[in-house]
Symmetry: C2
Subunit: 343 residues, 2 copies
Amino acid sequence: MKLGQATIKDIARELNLSASTISRALKDYPGISDETKRKVKEMAEKMNYRPNAIALSLRKSRSFTIGVIIPEVVHFFFSTVVSGIEEVAQSRGYNVILVQSNEKLEREISSIETMLSNQIDGVLVSYSKETNTFEHFTRVLDQGFPIVFFDRAPQIPGAINVMVDDYQGAFDATTHLISQGYKNIVHLAGPPSLKITRDRANGYKAALEKNGLPVHPDHIIPCPLGTVEESQKLVSELLSSSAVNPDAFFACNDIGAVGAMMACRDAGLKIPLDVGIVGFSDWQFCSMLEPKLSSVAQPGTLMGAKATEILLDIIEKKIDPETMEKSLVLETKLMDRDSSKRF
Amino acid sequence: MKLGQATIKDIARELNLSASTISRALKDYPGISDETKRKVKEMAEKMNYRPNAIALSLRKSRSFTIGVIIPEVVHFFFSTVVSGIEEVAQSRGYNVILVQSNEKLEREISSIETMLSNQIDGVLVSYSKETNTFEHFTRVLDQGFPIVFFDRAPQIPGAINVMVDDYQGAFDATTHLISQGYKNIVHLAGPPSLKITRDRANGYKAALEKNGLPVHPDHIIPCPLGTVEESQKLVSELLSSSAVNPDAFFACNDIGAVGAMMACRDAGLKIPLDVGIVGFSDWQFCSMLEPKLSSVAQPGTLMGAKATEILLDIIEKKIDPETMEKSLVLETKLMDRDSSKRF
DNA sequence: TCAAAAAGTGCAAACGTTTGAATAGGGCTA
DNA sequence: TAGCCCTATTCAAACGTTTGCACTTTTTGA
């Protein structure tokens, strides 16, 4: 790009050698005399030569760049995943191009197009809440283009997914509440379009059933927006109506759990004495709250790292996407803190 | 990249035309018959043609990609900045390559190198805590390569900086505490290498002086690590020693403020009755704490957006880096919540 | 002493696109 | 019917690398 950026040709001219010799000398190819290599490297240093990765990409049809599409950047969990992705990519010599879909399908589609135009080697995707068709993914997957999905993974045959064991995490959280003597546990669910929402709800139900507790459909409250205000309002309404009389909340995410905490406090209920609360994701702030919020920790950084390793292995043909294991499920860990411990 | 990706040449062969005609037809250049344009576009559509951005970059010596170097991704403030950057870049047709330095100077240096290799059009930087030399920046700046610094901005002559008015923010926060009747205000400072640390400390001191309160050097406590545990420990020690008898804390960041809250609670002090606390940055969790934490809000997304606009304007030569205003200072806003309100 | 092998280097094409200049064919005017 | 100007198209070079092959020159072996 730079006006004054030295190229291989410049070095060649300066040294009265051909471009091919320079190229080979810099790469320590056999068949170039040590004397020439020395001179070339010296001159490259002196002229502040920097290889042009764009030209290399064109030549090799490889950009050493991967794309990442996430719903939003300002999101604790996704930021941990991105951190893991960036870490592994950097260490293996790849660049990371980042875009956020802002939970918009349209943006997701255009991002994929731009990335393909940019000759990206592969892409990591967590799709948006709005995404109800996967045609934009299958179209490129069918061309043999490598995509690895993480966290929010579609039900596409043959797609490679890296997820967390949402079912088990929810099961553990609910079981924990039951073991602490809570009997009337309400689940604050997420947006219905996401598989993780269904898995967590199923884990919740399974834990109730296993412990002989009834599963009431009206104990599952969808919180599609995912804001503190939303869950606070819903829980407040629930507490003031006489129909349900909850003594615990298992929320699909920590934001929802905070809303529940606030609503309970407003209603004069003591946590964890009167009401137990467990969230999901174990965001940074959980241990800063009073009482400290119990939550199901998801290994975000690990998820990003694993997904990237798989993607790069596919790109570098170290593994075959046809025959490989199609989904990797990572374990969650219940962080039981004050908000759910009666004993 | 893709094996089966159609190129201009493929279309040319298919239609028995030359590559140049295809190129011009696709771009609606004059001098191509409407009939040909129609046929070309039809065929392009049919063959699922996607322009190769890499080839274009090589030809035009422009990659339409900007680099972003930040200390860490998992950091609320930086994630808001990145969000603003990504937003503007995307809307103006640029890609964003993201790297995190992990607060390491070495990583910062190698990232800049890689990015230059990748023919990036410009770069946005917030430097690491470790960075004590700016030679790696000045070297490329001197070549006329566009760099815009944000938040953590170096004292390099001619460098373009986008910052927040840290001095004024700290001044406002301290003044607010004084107006609430707190008299013995301790400042929890940040890593000494950062300019923002000094600015915030200066704002704190100025507010004390303006209100006729003494400035004790031992009332300024450095917290270089920036963890909750660190500030909790330091504040606990301070409270148990008889030397200083603080009735308020103004922390350089919200994490430090949380540590102070915890230490006060441990010491049996009531917030805001016995002790007032104000943080800096207004992280998401501030309003989730009990009591809600007062904090100085920084416009992160706006900062990212502004910095990107300036960078792209320089890249596109809409403004001249020589003659332009060298630094943009954004206003902070004190969010006074429960943790600092006695009245 | 001469051919053959080895060592060192250069040529040219390729990756996919853009673009200034050249060309071909046609219709018009004088 | 020559000269000219359009219009539509093609040629060829360029961006910076890499790489198979060809070409010198030197060294080796018999």
